[in-house]
Amino acid sequence: MRKACHLLLALAPFMAPLANAADTDFERLMLLLAQKTQRHVSFEEQDYLSVLDRPLRSSGELLYERPDHLEKRTLAPKAASLILEKGSLTVQSGRRTHILPLSDYPQIAPLIESMRATLAGDEAALQRIFKVDFAGSLANWTLSLVPLDAQLRNVVQTIRIEGDEAELHSVTIVQADDDRSVMTIGPAVPP
């Protein structure tokens, strides 16, 4: 009996987050996501842009480190990288490097934030910018994010993220003009 008590006490800190406020599947999902401190996965992306004659295909790797380091390394068809750190976005493509302070790009910042906040399980940040809809179960969920800000809705209609527990499967961004990008997320890249 005493032993069991000790065991419970010892486990308590680990049980606390689960026992706490996780009333809904959405909140449980957020807690699960928040527990992953880093990710390194592969991705494939297709962009359907009306201005182009055919879709753009690209593939590469995604890196994430809690709470706000996000990196998208495109390896094919040509190397490019996108690094979010400390509120500024560094875009490297070909010979050019662009450093964009997100505060100067109010129409981009929320889109990046959607990805970062989802990966961080940062519910508050998501709710601040989007109307969040959770569908499905923890094992097969879909998050639909619709910008709260009308101006932002002039850029993006919805962002749909699908996954299974703490793993993300796809991110689809539908722009206001129906241009779309679909990112399919693959398995973890072995270190």
Binding site: D47, L56, A80, L82, V91, H98, S103
Partner: protein, 794 residues
Amino acid sequence: MTPPRWLALVLWLALMALAVVIVGRAHYTADLSAFLPRAPSARQQLLVEQLRDGPASRVLLMAIEGADAAARAQLSMATARQLRNSRGFLTVNNGESVNDARDRAFVFKHRYLLSEAVTPEHFTVGALTSSIDDTIALLASPVGFALKSLLPEDPTGETLQVLNQLDRSARPHTVGGVWASADGRRALLVTSMRAPGSDIDAAERAVKTIRADFARAQDAASGSTARDARLVITGSPLFAVAARDTIRREAVRLSILSTSLIVTLLLIVYRSLPLLLLGLLPVTSGALAGIAAVAAGFGAVHGITLAFGITLIGESVDYSVYLFVQSTRTANGAFDTARAEGAMWRTILLGVLTSVCGFASLLPSGFPGLAQLGLYSIAGLVVAAAVTRFVLPGLIPRSLHRRNLTPLGERVAVVLRHARAARWTLGIVAIGAALVLFVHRDTLWNRDLAALSPVSARARALDTRLRTDLGAPDVSDFVVVAGDDLQTVLRASEKVAARLAAFVSDRTIGGFDSPTHYLPSDAAQSLRRASLPDSSALRLRLKAATASLPVSAARLEPFILDAAEARAAPLLRVSDLEGTSFAAGFDALTMHEGTRWAALMPLHATEAGTQPSAAATDKIRAAVENAAPGKAFLLNLKNESDALYSSYLSEALRLSAGGFAAIIVLLLLTLRSPRRVVAVVAPLVLAVVTVASALLLAGRTLTILHLIGMLLIVAVGSNYALFFDRGAAPHSGGTPSLTLASLVIANATTVVGFGVLAFSAVPVLAALGATVAPGAFLALAFAAAMSARPSAAR
């Protein structure tokens, strides 16, 4: 042979009238110019301009503390909005993007004139393919949302290229839409005054405007918490205002304090108001003549020279003390100055000449501040002595009575005997002082200009904190490009920029700013315009270039139209920048006087915050100075200003040594005895050395003001030593007790006058006071102790 009394009086009155006229018409300045070199090299000239008027001299940093984040953001926005509407500021940044729409329209419209990527090769088939491909790749990134509408008009990505040319590396954190410190507890704003930093009145107005606008924003704020917010300001304009206020306040306060102390002292000694007023006559005449001489000699009188006026009281009041005290009284108690007029005048004359030798050494100084001080002192002392000698005796009413000071003199004589008996201790003092100086020989002189700065350590700490918050370390390295007209300067800047780009690619520096990012030279703009192919050629090349790309040439028809329009567009002028943040960017990085222009290109440290090594800096310097020989210079504000001060100190040291040598020669010629010269000079040297070592022991390092103080010790102390020397003459019968009394009184006035200065909050004045007050006392004590036993007593 004494000239008639009336002639002296008339001459004096005429001279004073003339001086009053000159002083009344003189021009007074208060900027840094007195302490910047007069005939500097081109490089120093640029540095001086930078220190006075450069971008760093105009920046005011502000932090809003207290209240809550929302209130701080609201106050930041409201204050910034008001500041942007006021004419006094070139730029007001708080993290909001206000000019965005206009800026982007401007960049988009003029992209082919502004983009550094535009060359004839940029529009070949191969280059078009690669740049359009790069742009398309970006469409797949979040940047694409903003970019894709531009693709048809700007497939080569020039808009992004132009925005990218502007240095935007170091940005502070943002909280609630405005800049904030890393811990989020302070909202941050940065402004740049329109007026140059040397315009202290404008700086004062700017600081007042900021405070008033903040107070108004607080009143208008909706939340009640806004009342708890505080505004702190820092930056060179604020320092300049504070320094001027302090110096003004201190100069007035201390002059009044020391004058009243000296007056009280003299009143106690003389017990006669008329005598006191007469005694101040040489002092006022000297000060007036000094200012007039500086005004006539330099065209403008510097405020700091006036502040030093106090130092003259210290010595010139002594002359009247000697006259009044050493004069004996006739049987009926009235003054008989005749007795004093013999040997005493010769001694005073020699004392004046000695002081003149000392101060004359400052005249050739390349720094107007020192030269002014030298001229002021010489004119002041000569006039004060002459007035005492020729005018004062005639003005003393026959019936005037002075307290009998013989008892005082006799008491001093007793002390003097004890002092002589203890003279062996001087040997110990000398050895100790020499030892201290030897130990500190490498760090005697403080060569850091900050040592003279009137900015308090607390204010400097606040400044550092805000700069760290902003992620904007001091702009210490920058290139200055100067030339006879704007286009020359812009062309040279472009050459320098091309060389600097290499150092950015290899990460030696993080980046740099250049006015040519905002307005390229006409030459560069023409070349870029001429690089655009005509419509039919471009259409053909586009067709070939897009063959392998997911975009058809037909979709890029708007690009061909825009290129045709750009080919016919006029070149950009300064006036075209109006209404965009490009105007502010350009103005902040250029300065001009008449047709002469200077461009500034501040270098930024890499993201890691590391400054380039000395070797790397040398490489950058060589590259920069080769790019535009004689026009471009790499300057490091701190190093160069310290070097400037250091050269100024070395020069002053050299000149003082020359002055000291001149004093020795003068004494050798007049006293005609090396032994007597040693007897006169030894106590002065010992006093200087002792004070210097005491300052070092107290943890101070010596600055140029300490050096001036030492010069004053010699100037004042030489009088004492010469009187003792006279007393030691074979037939003199020793130093008379009245002379001793006069020396003690003269010394007391000097110690009081300078002692007050020692407590000043202005380092410059405190250094002077802390040197001269103890130095003058020691000079008297040492001269007394070392004086030879009067021959009569043998």
